[in-house]
Symmetry: C2
Subunit: 167 residues, 2 copies
DNA sequence: TTCATAACGTTATGTTATATCATTATCGAA
DNA sequence: TTCGATAATGATATAACATAACGTTATGAA
């Protein structure tokens, strides 16, 4: 049985129907924002779509360039504000180790849709997969409990080689 | 009994004898570099000392400013090269979530002195404490094993409030 | 001493991110 | 419907973080 915390084969995704992948993300984002009374404007929606171009993290300036190619002059704050909104809604995560952004595959699962996101990042194919692991979560909360530390934010990014890239 | 993985009370350090803290770090660094045949030059030693000014992460440009105040013209590469050396030797860690650097409290414990460093970072007092937690390590390696992922690098940084700052 | 290499200096530039203020859009209340 | 408050976006400038490239100096081994 698959529990919600399992990750079946996170890097076995190449070849999947990415168009539907994007559509799912956008539809989900619409639903979440509607439910919350937040505005997924055309710009924000487009930025989210660009973040979802693939399963590799995308730099803010990559998105900026894409936007510029379709709208002419666009300045960095335009992109950063959209990304900030999307992160706030839990629709996008920032990967600190790469200074880049990636779409969240399971947004809105929590009460407010924001959750601690943990990543496996393949240094060869560039794919980053969000994982949820009960043992990891447990170890972290026990560590926090033992040290009396109140966690507000988690940056957990494991870089290396995915199974497919280890050949 | 305290095992080497325990952290007694990581944030209960204010008031400690920080001068001896720095000295320990510098002496340790000298010993490690000597053993490895690496050169802890005056510049590198001084940068390490500046990183150890406190237990809060220090930005590269903070170090640059300090160096400039004591040596006149110093350019960014001077600082970044020294930091790169110190990181390579496991004497300093970079905190990706803060884009800042902090001295390693347990350098040279591994074969090559480089280890996965996990941090608790207090958003109030700014203190960052390196922790080693067997359960966390175990959860991570099981996660890697289960997904067939070969970890090369870990970025694990937990931000929040330390016990003392939760009042 | 000479050579090879590592360390450092110097200049320039690349990359990521934000502050600030003006303008436009949205939406509820009068 | 118009007004006014607020949110979103546009636009300009600059801050903050980092590295490429190349020349010079120091170091240590042959």
């Amino acid at each position: 049985m698959m529990t919600s915390g399992d990750v079946e084969s996170p890097f076995a995704m190449p070849g999947h129907d990415h168009a539907s992948c994007i559509m799912t993300a956008l539809d989900g984002a619409e639903a979440i924002c509607a439910r919350r009374g937040e505005r997924l404007t055309p710009l924000r929606r487009r930025v989210l779509e660009l973040v979802w171009r693939g399963h590799s993290p995308v730099g803010a300036y990559d998105i900026l360039a894409l936007l510029q190619s379709e709208r002419g002059r666009v300045a960095p704050p335009t992109v950063y504000r959209a990304l900030e909104f999307l992160c706030r809604q839990g629709l996008v995560h920032r990967l600190d180790s790469l200074q880049a952004f990636i779409g969240c595959g399971q947004p809105g699962n929590d009460g407010d849709g924001r959750h601690a996101a943990h990543f496996l990042i393949c240094q060869d194919c560039g794919t980053a997969v969000e994982v949820r692991d009960g043992q990891l979560d447990g170890a972290i909360s026990r560590l926090a409990g033992r040290t009396g530390f109140a966690i507000a934010d988690e940056t957990i990014e494991l870089s290396g080689l995915c199974a497919a890239c280890q050949s």
